[in-house]
Symmetry: C2
Subunit: 211 residues, 2 copies
């Protein structure tokens, strides 16, 4: 028989439904509020049925983890349009920042929570982080191009790239954790506390602009 089987893989069908339910719960209520039991009841199956398709909770979350990197890289795609290296670097930072704010839970899963990282360590297939590494390579290349225009003098490309990433991650994660707002709101340090992240980002650009 050569006809396409309707129910070729009902299994994979349920796997998708599980992931969809997990994503919906995760994006609505965050990591910890997304339990195996809730995922299961959302699609009307028993909690243990999930274990037929995923090894454990961290495996489910890892699937979302990968989705996040795909999303981020999709956003980075527009950077190909930006010719000037330094402008590209700035745009990259802005996209990164926007992604983190608009997809806070994804960001936490990708860069802050340790569970997906532990999954990678335990099940040791590194190809899953390829999307992440790919983005980092793009950053290094952009930094390298900036150096040819006189930026980041006396620096190594990979070190400068890591520095930029660190600064952006630090800024963004302090915003997401509430520490940034806590500091900027309680005392009269920042004239416009609401724009603390934006202003700090500008400050980074100013610092990097020096040649």
């Amino acid at each position: 028989m050569v006809t396409v089987k309707k129910t070729d893989r009902p299994a994979e069908d349920l796997k998708k439904k599980i992931l969809e339910a997990a994503r919906e719960l995760f994006l609505k209520h965050g990591y910890e509020a997304t339990s195996m039991r809730k995922i299961a009841s959302a699609i009307g199956i028993s909690p243990t049925a999930i274990y037929l398709y995923y090894m454990d909770k961290s495996d489910v979350m890892h699937a979302l983890h990968s989705e996040g990197f795909f999303l981020l890289n999709s956003r980075f795609a527009v950077l190909a349009q930006v010719e000037s290296p330094f402008e590209r670097l700035k745009a990259m930072g802005r996209i990164y920042m926007q992604f983190a704010v608009e997809n806070a839970d994804y960001y936490r899963l990708m860069f802050i929570l340790k569970e997906p990282m532990e999954y990678l360590d335990n099940h040791c297939h590194d190809e899953d982080w390829d999307e992440g590494e790919q983005a980092f390579y793009a950053l290094i290349n952009t930094v390298e191009a900036c150096m040819q225009e006189g930026y980041f003098k006396d620096q190594q490309p990979h070190e400068a790239a890591m520095l930029v990433w660190s600064a952006m991650h630090g800024l963004v994660s302090m915003h997401l954790s509430g520490h940034l707002e806590h500091i900027t709101h309680t005392k009269n340090i920042f004239p416009q506390p609401d724009q603390a992240m934006e202003q700090t980002f500008q400050s980074l650009i100013t610092l990097m602009s020096k040649r």
Copy 2:
């Protein structure tokens, strides 16, 4: 009777014992592995007895949170010896980095985990974060002094200070989460992956050195 009562405040005595047990468990096994039941059994009381002295788990953890800030500020004390503003800034960064590495769990509790922050928001006594804000003021002052020597040109002190803190926090938290090592080890980007954090720190100093 004017004699000193032996059991003047057995209550506060037990409160201390609870905190000691919590600290020991926390520093040995981390936040999540420190449960109310384990704390209780460590000192031979029932789990619910803790609730006579602390509102909930986040309250207990908040006590350790405060300890962490006290510890960090103690380390910062030596900075008074450093006269040169820029040298002081560098030393501040190094101390911050060392503190994070040597007291990873404290650092997570202070700057990454959201539970202690939620406690502050819910129980709204801001004086607890004073130690944290104090440290940030010290950073602003140091940055301001650096500016008088020509550093951080075209920047606002509070913005530059926030930038420095963001960069340090980003660097340190990516180290603690394992992301930094993951990136630097898997591919041959960094010649000496083990010193990735140190080298990125140096890169920050190089960037800040420009006047």
